[in-house]
Amino acid sequence: MSQKVLLSAKEINIILHRLACQLIENHLDFKDTVLIGIQPRGTFVAERLKKILVEEYNISEVKLGYLDITFYRDDFRRGSKPLEANKTKIDFVVEDKKVVFVDDVLYTGRSIRAALTAIQSFGRPSEIELLTLIDRRFSRHLPIQPDYRGRQVDAINQEKVRVMWEEQEGEDKVYLVIK
């Protein structure tokens, strides 16, 4: 197994700032917009974005929720490993809100398909957008594309993209792992 660095801490930081600016361009003061971090790893991206929006661009209130999609996945009983659930925490109404799904890696699109179903349990958003730090091009199983993408990556199926966060793994870095 070998790995190479796709993004350094500095590059991640620049990308997150760009994504934050793109969000502001479309959502201005975030009055009717909510960010939803997709569990388990999208929450880190979402928290970073919220921090940048609040601290550096003075957006007074950014609503942030976490959505777990385990019970909506289409591979229940199909994998060798059992699925493990994470916490869902959405303390606000999503009815008529603009929802932005935030995830770290967009790969087959199946997680986002599950998230689109899961969010319906909390109401009917007026629209849903997708933000992803890494977009693995050419590997989609479903017709799902991001509205905001950090970096597009061409990776073959045997490769894996690993996104590390300082708060979890001790460093900000994105690796391409070759099995």
């Binding site: 777990d68 009983r77 199909r78 916490k87 869902t88 899961a118 349990s121 909390f122 109401g123």
Partner: protein
Amino acid sequence: MSELSVDHLLGIKYLKREDIELIFETADHFKEVINRPIKKVPSLRDITIANLFFENSTRTRLSFELAEKRLSADVINFSAAQSSVKKGETLIDTVNNILSMKVDMVVMRHPNPGAGVFLSKNVKASIINAGDGAHEHPTQALLDSYSIRERLGDVEGKNVVIVGDILHSRVALSNIFALQLQGANVKVCGPKTLIPKYIGNLGVGVETDLRKALEWCDVANMLRVQNERMDISYFPSTREYTQQYGVSKALLDSLDKEIVIMHPGPINRGVEITSDVADSKQAIILNQVENGVAVRMAVVYLLASKIKQ
């Protein structure tokens, strides 16, 4: 751990402590789900479950059915009163007939102890015991412990007394196993005639004085007197039972601490507990019912995830 160590839920005595922890963690997620505007997830849409009730039940049957439906399973219900059991069909034949309609899981209540174990050895389906005679009622014990954990933070180290008809109670036996597995101290309290002779072998204390038992405990689980299972008289009169083993608000207020009151239902108001106790803040009887759905969703979900495709 992310998988149960068992393929069936036949009794608490077959579980490990980690199994109970996994069930509770999963139930936490489902409790959040059933408090959403839309209380349903699509996980089990390709699973069919048969609820076989050879004995009367209201809340357990409804709770299981709701849990299954909230997981999007297909559900068929069967009660012995309207079935071919009355025409002489054996249990295995009845169940195999149902299974040939492509059923993946069976939830069964049966008057005979061991019916679930027997079935699990003879048919190809995942079995959940919803009560077998006076033997075990595992999901009730799980939801009881889950409710204690919710109210008191933890089950370990807590003193729990089970009061009433221990002799005829599957709830008592499953609770003893579940509580001990999680490190709680358990005592039983009731008239000597309603306490099994060798209960001490399970490592539980016996107390015949209700006040002493309540002074000792953090939680009192009040059982119903099961008149329907009593072939002889175990105490002189209901009035006398209530005087000695009924919990009233006055008795609770006279204790120097606030204990938690539980009851698996159905309550006989004025017999094992008075109405003002049943409706007081100390009673978590309705929390138990709500948690019952979440805990059963967890059990069904975790067992279903082990069914091979």
